[in-house]
């Protein structure tokens, strides 16, 4: 019973580390998907007094993915009743060309400002509207959210690592008799500590299985997916092969490194 309690303590601690890492990964994926959505919706408006084709824009900066002219027909149609055809034709000739420029990725506010200045330097381009302020607010909010989650994950990982260390110290005390007897017969430190490593590896595997099970249930329940769909995002919260394998590696890495810390520490004490 006592042994089961010790196992559960380590499994919970490892599960917490894995869960916080996976949450960070999921948030990163969500923000990535959101960035992609913003990127698709986001464009810069360029006003030019000469005709520019997509190649001209692409040549101006590598971040520019495509461009399309903004049709002025709608505006002119509205003016049809108020102006004579002659004036309208004249206006059509003098009216600058409007373009919507799409970018290959979601830019930072600095990148927008830089691009804006770069475009404005081009002869013919009269005005560039980057909507930097709106963009800036959304972007900064997203970065803040990402940073908060990252800090939170690191804090959880640090605290649980300390808990795991403490748990392993307990294991070491529990197995101290066996380890000291083995030492009397010349067992090298890795053989003496084999029981600690075995326990750590078994618990790492169990913690990973529990994590997979937890995300399977979240996926089955569907509320997280529903929540994300309401903001127009669809992502895979947990990829059972890729994320499962990474979680197993993290769990094994954390438990083995912490066991090594205990083992090396105790060897120095001897």
């Amino acid at each position: 019973m006592k042994s089961l309690k010790n196992h559960i303590s380590l499994i919970i601690a490892l599960f917490t580390v894995l869960f916080s890492v996976q949450i960070y990964v999921a948030v990163d994926r969500t923000i990535g998907a959101y960035e992609n959505r913003l990127k698709n919706d986001y464009s810069i408006v360029v006003v030019s007094n000469k005709v520019l084709n997509p190649h001209d824009f692409k040549a101006m900066d590598s971040i520019i993915e495509r461009s399309e002219p903004i049709a002025t027909d709608q505006v002119l149609k509205r003016l049809q009743g108020e102006m004579t055809k002659k004036n309208l034709d004249l206006l059509k000739l003098t009216l600058p060309k409007f373009y919507r420029v799409y970018l290959s990725r979601f830019p930072t506010p600095e990148e927008i400002q830089k691009l804006q200045k770069k475009l404005e330097k081009n002869p013919g381009i009269e005005r560039v509207e980057g909507y930097a302020q709106t963009h800036d607010t959304v972007y900064k909010l997203m970065l803040l959210f990402k940073d908060v989650v990252q800090i939170f994950s690191i804090a959880i990982a640090a605290v649980t690592s300390l808990l795991i260390l403490k748990e392993m110290r307990l294991w070491q005390f529990q197995h101290a008799d066996r380890m000291s007897i083995m030492a009397l017969f010349g067992a090298p430190v890795w053989l003496r500590s084999a029981v600690l490593f075995r326990l750590a590896i078994v618990d790492a595997i169990i913690a990973t299985v529990v994590l997979c099970l937890a995300f399977f249930l979240i996926d089955q329940y569907g509320w997280m997916d529903l929540l994300l769909r309401t903001v127009g995002i669809s992502i895979q919260l947990f990829d059972f092969i890729h994320d499962g394998f990474r979680s197993l590696l993290i769990a094994l890495g954390v438990s083995i490194i912490l066991t090594l810390t205990i083992v090396i520490g105790s060897e120095e004490e001897e």
Binding site: D177, R178, M182, F185, G186, P188, L191
Partner: protein, 223 residues
């Protein structure tokens, strides 16, 4: 004759300004049977501890099996211990392991597979009359039986030296006899060097032996 143990001006203590054994010089030949006697607290167990590297010499020189014990490295100490068999008064058996696995311990440490170690363990358990208890755990056995298991473990890897600390201290007559017979057998048949720390030398001992006595921190041979 080869010397298994050589001590020159050996001083032992646990604290800096304390002396348990003072400037002792003695040597033990390979294949010898040696008794070390002395009153309680005289330093018999401390001397034995120094022979398997549990404490380091405070001063002087100590060589065991050709290995210098002063400032010995962990790897050298492990190597030496793999060639020594130790029997403790409190048995020091691993409670969570079966009797069979306990006896197998030195062979596991030396890297022998079960194919080799299995028959050896069975043979030894036969010698200590515990073959029927192989699957049991130490707490299920009496003190005498546990010491016989410890004896079988000490012999499992055919050590060059067996160190025994009061091996029959709390045992019944039958178990004591089994232990002394095994120690004598290892000495006469396998030429294993035996060092036994005890209060009293048993009268039943048939092999020739050397006797050292510790008194007031000094070790002297009793003729």
């Amino acid at each position: 004759m080869d010397k298994v143990i050589i001590a020159e001006n050996l001083s032992l203590s646990y604290k800096e300004f304390e002396t348990i054994i003072s400037k002792a010089s003695f040597s033990i030949d390979a294949g010898a049977f040696v008794f070390v006697t002395g009153a309680s607290g005289s330093g018999k167990s401390t001397l034995l501890k120094s022979l398997y590297g549990a404490i380091e010499p405070r001063a002087g020189q100590l060589m065991v099996g050709g290995v210098k014990m002063n400032r010995i490295s962990t790897s050298k100490l492990n190597f030496l211990r793999r060639h020594i068999g130790i029997v403790f008064q409190d048995y020091k058996l691993i409670k969570e392991w079966t009797i069979e696995k306990n006896v197998m311990l030195p062979l596991i440490i030396s890297g022998y597979t079960k194919d080799i170690s299995g028959p050896q363990v069975q043979k030894l358990l036969g010698h200590v009359k515990l073959i029927h208890q192989a699957g049991k755990y130490p707490p299920e056995l009496s003190g005498g039986e546990q010491q016989r298991v410890a004896m079988a473990r000490a012999l499992a890897h055919n050590p060059i030296l067996i160190l025994a600390d009061e091996p029959t201290g709390n045992l019944d007559e039958y178990s004591s006899e089994v232990i002394w017979n095994l120690l004598e057998g290892a000495n006469t048949q396998l030429k294993t060097t035996i060092v036994v720390v005890t209060h009293r030398i048993p009268s039943s001992i048939k092999v020739p032996y050397k006797h050292y006595h510790i008194e007031m921190g000094n070790i002297h041979e009793v003729s």
